[in-house]
Amino acid sequence: MVAILQAVFSGLALGGIYALVALGFNITHSTTKTLNFGQGELLAAGTVIAVSGVMLLAGKGMHGTLDPQDVTLWRYAVSLLISVVVLGLLGVLLYYTAVRPFIGLGGLSWVMSTLGFGIIIQNTALAIWGPSAMVIPSPLGDNVIRIGGAGVLPQEILVVAASVVVMLCLDTVMRKTKIGKAVRAVAHNKNAATLMGINVPAVVVLAFAISSSLAGLAGLLIAPITTASVFMGLSIALKAFSAAIVGGLNNARGCMLGGFLLGLVESMVGLWHAELREISIFMLIILVLVLKPEGLLGTRVAEKV
């Protein structure tokens, strides 16, 4: 029982990470019908930037080792902010170099170009930080908290809390605010949105900035639980993409649901048979695609004739 509860907690933490990145996929897909296939590499770059930020703030230089007392909450928060801003700018650069030239041309050039953008970012990061993993202790310490007998890391609680708060904020912005409604109008019909006086290109750039920022946020949240490295992004991005497909790529709430669902499945199955984790996740994906191709909460898009 305790073990299951424990798995639920770590599954929720993992799920929160997948959900944030999946939401990033949803945002660019709904506004441009494209995805950033370099999202994982951006996530990793954002994370190593943030870890270096903590090191510099702690006066350790670029290649030091972080002790738990080096990672104070404010250093962590400042680095997080830096990472989110840097990634937002990278998202804008990605849009102008790898997405915009190919929008509306048909074909899948943007798949290759966003993948390529990610690889360029990854290799640049590799040249700066090297291949080894960087350890970053949690700003909340490592004292296990007991909930119902199960041990939970403070960082896991932080991950769940932060991802849920960010998602609720985004959800509220999209549904209740003027700018959110404008973004939804752009997602639905760019010409009609233009006729409302909405600056469509600006909204699209904003979507890419937010999407990349979410990846940066996810990366630094998970780093104290796993580690930070230039290679950490691919598996997270792949799971997040799966989460978006399972939940419904065109539905933000579906992407969040898919993220948590995948995290829980991965964690629960891992408890039982670690080697069945990936198998069960991808079987779940295939099952969902067969039964409901548009995803759990996705809506079938009627193509205009």
Binding site: H188, A192, A193, L195, I198
Partner: protein
């Protein structure tokens, strides 16, 4: 001011690749006028509308609004100048409520909440059913209701020029009658209107002047009454042989 037309289009050409959709169109719409553009399928009517609202770029020629050259101005900025287009096929935002659709019409305005609320009320006076449907998803309404919403949404921008692109398209006859009733009301309020229609008879009945567009060229123009009496128009567009 009186001699500067609200809209003046000079020798406008629009191309889709190798296809020339407009081959040098010149028209004028003056303040307070209702002008209709009639013509068959593929004549270039919708292309002309899009070129005015900025959804389509011009290959040559000029689009002037109140004496200002806006040929290269992005579409979203033209809305702020006072050009509102109610597009062909309505194109409301079906996943948002009727109210949110109307509010998106006023998106660019920096008006006070009270002013916007007053404008909403003004729309309800013309379109009473929108008040009943205010919190309903726009996509759940009938085609005619959606057309009413699309017109009201365009009016929420307080346009100096309203472009109506085929408002009667795909609507039941009774609904078409309602829509033309609304257009008459807008005319009485002094709203400057450019109306593109396939229903030439009704369009000419409500308009002050008309143009006839055929394969990208204006082939005829004049007062609506004269055009309605013209035997060539009667034969080609009013279904008389």
């Amino acid at each position: 001011m009186a001699d500067i037309p609200t809209l003046r289009i000079e020798a406008l050409q629009v191309r889709y690749g190798a296809v020339e959709a407009l081959k040098g169109v010149s028209i004028e719409v003056h303040a307070g006028e209702v002008v209709t553009m009639i013509g068959g399928n593929g004549a270039g009517k919708s292309t002309l509308m899009k070129a005015i609202s900025g959804l389509e770029g011009a290959a040559a020629g000029r689009v002037m609004f109140e004496g200002r050259d806006i040929t290269r101005m992005p579409g979203h900025q033209r809305v702020a100048l006072g050009i509102a287009q109610c597009p062909e096929g309505r194109q409301i935002f079906p996943d948002q409520t009727v109210r949110d659709n109307l509010m998106l019409g006023a998106y660019h305005r920096a008006a006070s909440a009270a002013q916007i609320a007053a404008d909403l009320e003004a729309q309800f006076a013309v379109f009473p059913l929108l008040r009943e449907r205010l919190h309903q998803s726009a996509g759940t309404m009938s085609g005619g209701e959606q057309q009413m919403l699309a017109i009201a949404r365009a009016l929420m921008s307080r346009p100096k020029l309203l472009l109506l692109d085929e408002p009667s398209l795909g609507l039941a006859p009774l609904m078409v009658k309602d829509i033309f009733g609304v257009i008459r009301q807008l005319k009485q309020r002094g709203i400057t209107l450019l109306l593109v229609e396939q229903m030439a008879n009704q369009a000419l009945a409500v308009a002050d002047r008309g143009y006839v567009l055929e394969t990208g060229n204006i082939i005829m123009q004049g007062g609506a009454r004269e055009l309605r009496r013209d035997p060539r128009i009667r034969a080609a567009y009013l279904g008389e042989h």
